[in-house]
Structure formats: C-alpha cells, structure tokens
C-alpha cells in the first residue's frame, strides 16, 4: 500500500506568510509547508453522518475522507460538533445514551457501526487523548501499561512502556520515578503521559480532542512537536480551537461551523490562505465566532 506520489503545487522552503492580499489582512498566520507530506490513502471515511442528542442535531450531513499517516485538524467555533464527530469515529458516543447516529462511518472500508463490529476492538485500533489530562490514580508505569494489560497483549511490558514514554518525549523526565503516582506530574507531563498511554497499544489512528487547550504555552509547544513526530507512524486527527496551532501542525484542515456542518475540508495552506467559502474566510479572520 504505497501512498500516491503527487507533486506539491507550491514547493516552497520555510514558512509562508501572506500580508496584504487575500483574507488574512488583519492576521498573520504562518503556514508551515516545510514537511509537506505526500497525499495518502483514506483511512477513515464519513458518508452523510448525522448525529442527534435526543432531538438536538449535533452533526448535519458530514462527509469527509481522512488520509492516512497525516495530521488532520478540525477547527470551528464552540459547539459546532467537532468533538462529537471525533467521538463518533471510535464509537465513544455509544456511552452516551442520548446519542443517535445515522449515516456511514468507515474505518478501512468497514462501517464501524455495523452489527458485527465490537466497539472494544475498534478502540484498540483507534486511540484517544482527551482535553483534560486524565491519568489513572496509579503509578506512571501502570498508567502506560494499562492498555497492554487490558487488551491482554503478550509483550514485554517494560520495553513497550519505555518506548512509548520515549516517543512521547517524557522518558528522560520520569525514568527514575516510574513507580510514583501519575498524579504528581505537572499538567503538561500528565498530558504527554496520556499520549504515551494511547500509543503504547500501537493503534493505527490517534484522535486528539483539544489536547493542549488546558496547558501553558511551553507545554503546548512540546505537545505540538510531539504530534509532528507521531504522524510519522500514526494517523492523527486533532480537534483544536487554536487556529494558529492548526495551521502549524496539520496537513489537512476541516472547518466545522455552527449547526454541525462541515463547510470546507482541504489542504491546510488552502484553507488558511485562500478558502472557497466566505463563512470560512470570516471565521478565520475573526469576523465572527
């Protein structure tokens, strides 16, 4: 399964900043095109997804194809369904009694809402990192090893824990205190621990629901560097409020607007420099929301 090789239309070195023309008159958003990844196969596909919480419609006819081993960002104002969509991918909405979904959501061609799909098995392939760091009240080692034990994976726990913590850029800071409580770490460290925990079970996709919104700028930038590295091995879908963040780290961006509508989905540079829809342009330039 080789990714398609397609040439990037604007092969540029370094970052691009637009100043006078285009929609970004009042804002400078740096779009990082340095590590533009070649376009790839679709790993997650949504076809006309509608999600209702009792009678309230949270997502309205969403269709999207998420490419493999790239970072896809989902941006939009509060309450427009980004998190709902994310949670529909790994069927976390099954845990909400009031949620109802219509449409098809395919993971590697298989509808995840089919009768014969076990959500537990699905979540072993699609991991999730939440907005507020939520380590278990156990030791750091037990936190990272939790997924391995719960899934009965026959691996060398110590080795996998060490590798995951290294990938999450946390190993050096905690290697001497693996038995101490995870709750003693700082917020940024806890979030990196949650990321290590998610990747320890070797998923194919990592969903991140505003992972850095509760953290200070330094911790945030560490997480962003981490996401960049993670996309080498995993598909990353990240929901974020922070447009600059989306522009910095993502390859493709989806813009959700009020009412649960997916208005536009395209390469990140295109969204931020030359979006098709006026509403997207208004949102990005801060004219509303």
């Amino acid at each position: 399964m080789t990714p398609d090789e397609s040439t990037q239309s604007s092969a540029s070195t370094g970052t691009q900043t637009t100043t006078t023309d285009g929609p970004l008159v009042d804002q400078q958003i740096d779009v990082d095109t340095n590590d533009a990844r070649p376009s790839a196969e679709t790993v997650i596909e949504a076809r006309h997804i509608d999600v209702f919480y009792d009678d309230v419609q949270a997502l309205d006819d969403v269709s999207i194809e998420i490419p493999e081993q790239q970072v896809t960002a989902m941006i939009g104002p509060s309450g427009c369904g980004k998190s709902t969509f994310l949670r529909s991918i790994n069927r976390m909405n099954d845990l909400v009694d009031a949620a109802r979904i219509e449409g098809e959501l395919l993971f590697r061609g298989k509808n995840v809402y089919d009768e014969d799909v076990d959500p537990v098995a699905l979540r072993r392939k699609i991991g999730m990192v939440f907005q507020h760091p939520n380590p278990f009240p156990k030791s750091i080692f037990d936190n990272v090893a939790y997924g391995l034990r719960v899934q009965d994976m026959d691996v060398d726990e110590e080795q996998v824990v060490e590798e995951s913590l290294k990938k999450a850029a946390l190993w050096d800071e905690v290697k001497d205190q693996l038995d101490s409580s995870a709750l003693d770490l700082s917020g940024g460290q806890q979030q990196r621990l949650c990321i290590a925990r998610a990747i320890a079970v070797d998923p194919e996709v990592i969903l991140m629901d505003e992972p850095a919104s509760a953290l200070d700028p330094i911790a945030t930038s560490k997480i962003e560097d981490l996401i960049d590295d993670l996309a080498e091995d995993y598909t990353v879908v990240i929901v974020t409020h922070n447009m600059q963040q989306a522009a910095r780290i993502s390859d493709k961006t989806a813009v959700f607007l009020t009412g649960g509508e997916l208005v536009e989905f395209d390469d990140t540079e295109k969204i931020f420099e030359n979006p098709e829809h006026q509403r997207v342009e208004d949102y990005i330039t801060g004219k509303f929301g």
Partner: protein, 552 residues
C-alpha cells in the same frame, strides 16, 4: 460628595450586624440542643456504669496526676504545634483499640463458632481450590468460563464433598466423595492449634503487610524482612503454648490483628518523620494507667465499684445483678454482624454497581430503572418494625427457618440496612470522575475491565465508609429482633447459625424491665456503654477512612 461627620468604619457605619449575629446565635443554640442532649445521656449512662463516686478521693487524685494531667497537657501541646502530631496521636491510640476489637471478634468466633481445627481444614481446602484456580489461570488464561466453573465446583467439592450419585457408582467410585476439609480433619496428627492459626491467618496477613511495606519503601528486601518479622513474632505463640500451656492462639491473633497494623503505621510515621511526637500519646496513656494502678495498690485506695468490668464482659446473664454479664448477647451480636456483612456487602455493592454502571438511563428501561432507584430510597425510610414483620413472614413462616436464630436475625436486619448500603455505594461510584472511565474506554477496555480496574478501586473507600456506618446502625437495631423472636436473654452463646441467640440491644431491652433497680440502672448502663463503645469505634473508623481519602 459631602463628608460625613462620623467615620466610615466603626459602629455608626450604617451596616447593621445585629440580625446576622442573632441568627448565628440561634443556629448555635439549635446545634447545642442536639449535642447537649446526647452528652447528658452519655454522662448519665457512664456514671451509672462506672459509679466513679464510690471510689476513694485518693484514687481519683492519683489517676488525675498520673493519667489525666499528662494526657491533657500533651493534647494541648499537639493542638498548638503545627505538625500532624495530633493526627498521629489519635490514630496510634485508636488503631490498637480497633485491632483489639477485631482480635476479640476473631477469638470469640474461634471460641464459640468454629473450632480452630475446623477453621484450619476449611482454610486448607479453600487454599487448594485457590491453587488449582491460579494454575489454571496461568496455563489457560482465556478459558474464563471454565475457570469460573472450577471455582464454584471446586469450592463445593472441596468443602462439602460429593453426595453419592448414580454416575459415581457406575464409575466405580466409593459411595460418597469425601471433601478435602473432612480429609484434613481425619488426619492422625494435626499441628498445634496455635500453629494452625499461624499458618492460616498470620501467613496471608504477613504476605500482605510485606507487599505493602515493599511498595512503600520501594525495596523488595524490606518487604521480606517485614513479613519475616511478623511471622517470627507470631511464632512466639506456639512457644508460649508449649512452654507455659496458656492459649497460644490468643497471642497469635493479637499479634496478627493488632500488632501488625500498628507496627506498619508506626513504621510509616517514623520513616516520613512527620508528627513523630504523636507516638508519645498512647505511651503516656498506658504509662499513666500502669503507674496509677501501682500507686493506688501501694497506697491502698479503693477503686470505684464498677458495673462494667472484665467479668461483666465474659459472664452470662443471671438473676443476681452483680453476676450478670453480657457475653452471650455479645457473641450473638458478633455473629449477627457476620451474617449481615456476608449478605449486604455483595448484594448491596453489586446492586449499586449495576444501577450506576450498567443500567441504561434512557428509554423505557431507563424509566423503570429510575423507578427502582426511587423505591430503594423509599425503602431506606421504612420503619424497622416493618422489616421485623417482613422477616417474620418471609424467613420464619414461609421458609421455615428456626425462629430467633442467628441467620433469621441477620437476614432481617440485613434487609433493613441494604437500601442504605446501596445508596451510599451508589454515591461513592457516582463520585468517581467520568473522565477516568472515558480514559479507560478510550484504551479499548470493556465495561467490566473499566469497573474493576478504575472505578471500583477509586470508589472503594467511599463504599467502605458507607458500609461501616450502615453496620454501626445494624448492630443497634432492636425492633426487628423483637419480631423475629431473638431471645430476651440467653445463658449460652450460640454455637451455630441456626441456634437461638440473644443480641446486645435485645438484652439491654430486657434489663430495662427487670424489677430489681440494680438491673435497671447498673447492669443496663454497662450494656449501653459496651454497645456505644463498639458503635463509636466503628463510626470513628469510617470517618477516619473517609477523611484520609478525601484529602488525597
């Protein structure tokens, strides 16, 4: 803006504080009414039970100087110092008391209910099942249903044996497969009874304590040393038994259930060097009592003519007030408590887990579940007399269990506190933050795995607190016991669960109507103090557990 003649602060600042102060005073009064009433009762009852006024003034003076004064000064010192010495002081005092009560309970069980060698045989047979189960888990980890079957069948066969079946006869097996438990009892030589207790009680406790210490000190060697020390300490029991002939089991149980928790706690305090001064408090108390006793004996002061003494706690009721005791009723209450715990803990916590984790909250089934929850809350308020009638109708008339037996009393009072246990367990489970469950599900865990690995460990302190408080209430319930025929007064402690029994509150009730005034004032008060002491210790334990885990 014109400047006022008076100042902007002070009495004439224009903001009236009077109403607020009046309200505060009224609320304080309301609080005091409740507390003062209870204090008056306690004072009354304690005076009647211990009759302090019958002692010589010299006796009072001696103990004032050797016990009360040093303890009070020390308490004031703790209050004024900033480190957690006060907390260490009351835990170090309370922990041995709790341990002693538990040890007493265990010893009572051994004395009345289960001979030590029966316990030994039971423990060995259950241990054998455990070994088989563990081997199966290592060998074939995924055959869960099979393993569950082994657990149930294995326990049944090991403890009870198999009755003769046609199948067995065809297979050429003897008429009845004898259980492992019986085999052990038939052994020609059994080790010394105190050694049996060491093997079955001390070894597991030592292993647990060793693990705990090893984790806390981050050193496996320390854990092994701790476990070895505990076992060695307990082994003095059989030595005493062999050499002197006194019951070695008492020593072993005391070491295992009292000395071990205290030692582990003290080790923690000393290692963390926090509040080490608090360790002095129990020493001051014990030292004060010892020195005081020596002095009053030397100086010849007479102590008070107490109703509540050791002979009261170990004798049977009698028509003579001076010889009356509460022992059979005490044992009856302990056994009732055992039945209540065995019944309400699994059923109550199980129901709470189902209602909180598994039951849907939407749709038709959801409404039905809500109805059930409302009704459980209602059941918690039903008068205890009604539960007594339920017990009478269900267990005695319908199931034909013997009237007034331990099992009937235990099941009836168990039903009484079941709603309370369910509600408090549900609250403890609800208090577990949902983000933890989400994290677990996100990792691909099933609902069972999430409940077992994340939710239950987090909710356990709250569940324990609720259960202990519920049990505290259960031990004092009288009305249901009246209706299911618990004996007004028993001369012998019950030997089995189907035997007629008395209970502490029932016995107190009987004494309240005796014609002789000594019964109504002295013996009754002693019984009340005993019951209250047990209750106080249970409630204090629950509150300490809750406070400790709330702060974390």
């Amino acid at each position: 803006m014109a400047v006022d003649e008076g100042s902007w602060y002070g009495q004439d600042s224009g903001v009236s504080q009077v109403r607020g102060q009046l309200f505060e005073a009224i609320c304080l009064l309301a609080t005091s009414v409740g507390i003062v009433s209870v204090l008056i009762l306690l004072l009354y009852v304690t005076l009647d039970a211990f009759e302090p006024l019958t002692a010589d003034p010299g006796w009072h003076l001696v103990f004032l100087l050797t016990l009360v004064l040093p303890a009070t000064l020390l308490a004031i010192y703790y209050y004024r110092s900033s480190d957690p010495a006060g907390e260490v002081a009351y835990v170090t005092t309370g922990l041995p008391i709790v341990g002693l009560l538990l040890s007493g309970g265990v010893l009572v069980v051994f004395a009345e209910l289960l001979a030590i060698k029966e316990w030994f045989a039971l423990a060995l047979s259950l241990g054998a099942v455990g070994v088989v189960w563990y081997a199966h888990k290592r060998g074939r980890p995924s055959a869960v249903l099979e393993r569950f079957g082994i657990l149930i069948l294995g326990t049944a066969v090991s403890v009870f044996g198999l009755p003769p079946t046609a199948l067995a006869r065809v297979a050429g097996l003897p008429k009845r497969i004898v259980s492992l438990r019986e085999l052990v009892l038939e052994l020609p030589y059994l080790p010394l009874s105190s050694l049996q207790v060491v093997a079955t009680l001390t070894l597991p406790v030592a292993a647990l304590a060793g693990l705990f210490v090893a984790r806390r000190r981050a050193s496996r060697r320390d854990g092994v040393v701790a476990a070895a020390l505990i076992v060695t300490g307990a082994l003095f029991g059989p030595v005493i038994d062999a050499v002197v002939g006194i019951n070695g089991e008492v020593w072993v149980v005391l070491v295992t259930m009292t000395a071990v928790p205290v030692a582990v706690y003290i080790e923690g305090v000393v290692r963390r060097k926090e509040g080490v001064a608090g360790l002095a408090f129990p020493l001051v108390l014990v030292g004060g009592v010892a020195v005081g006793t020596v002095l009053v004996n030397a100086l010849g002061f007479a102590g008070p003519d107490v109703w509540l003494d050791w002979s009261y706690l170990t004798s049977a009721p009698s028509t003579t007030p001076e010889e009356a005791g509460i022992y059979p009723a005490l044992v009856g209450s302990v056994m009732l408590l055992l039945v209540i715990v065995a019944m309400t803990f699994p059923v109550g916590v199980g129901a709470a887990i189902y209602l909180e984790e598994y039951a849907p909250s939407n749709g038709l089934v959801g409404k039905f579940v809500t109805l059930i929850e409302i009704n459980i809350a209602n059941l918690a308020g039903v008068p205890s007399v009604v539960y007594g009638l339920l017990g009478l109708a269900l267990f005695i008339n319908f199931v034909h269990l013997p009237s007034g037996s331990v099992i009937v009393g235990g099941l009836t009072v168990g039903l009484l506190i079941l709603p309370i246990i369910i509600i408090s367990a549900q609250e403890a489970l609800e208090a577990v933050p949902d983000s933890m469950r989400q994290a677990s599900y996100g990792m691909g865990a099933t609902r069972w795995q999430t409940t077992r690995n994340v939710v239950l460990p987090e909710a356990l302190p709250g569940i324990m607190t609720g259960t202990i408080l519920g049990l505290g209430r259960a031990i004092g319930e009288t009305a249901p016991l009246l209706l299911v025929g618990i004996a007004a007064s028993v001369g012998l402690a019950p030997a089995g669960f189907l035997d007629l029994t008395g209970a502490m509150p029932r016995q107190i009730f009987t004494w309240a109507f005796e014609p002789k005034p000594e019964f109504r004032y002295g013996v009754l008060a002693a019984g009340v103090v005993t019951l209250l002491a047990v209750l106080l210790v249970m409630n204090a334990t629950a509150i300490v557990i809750r406070n400790k885990y709330q702060r974390e």
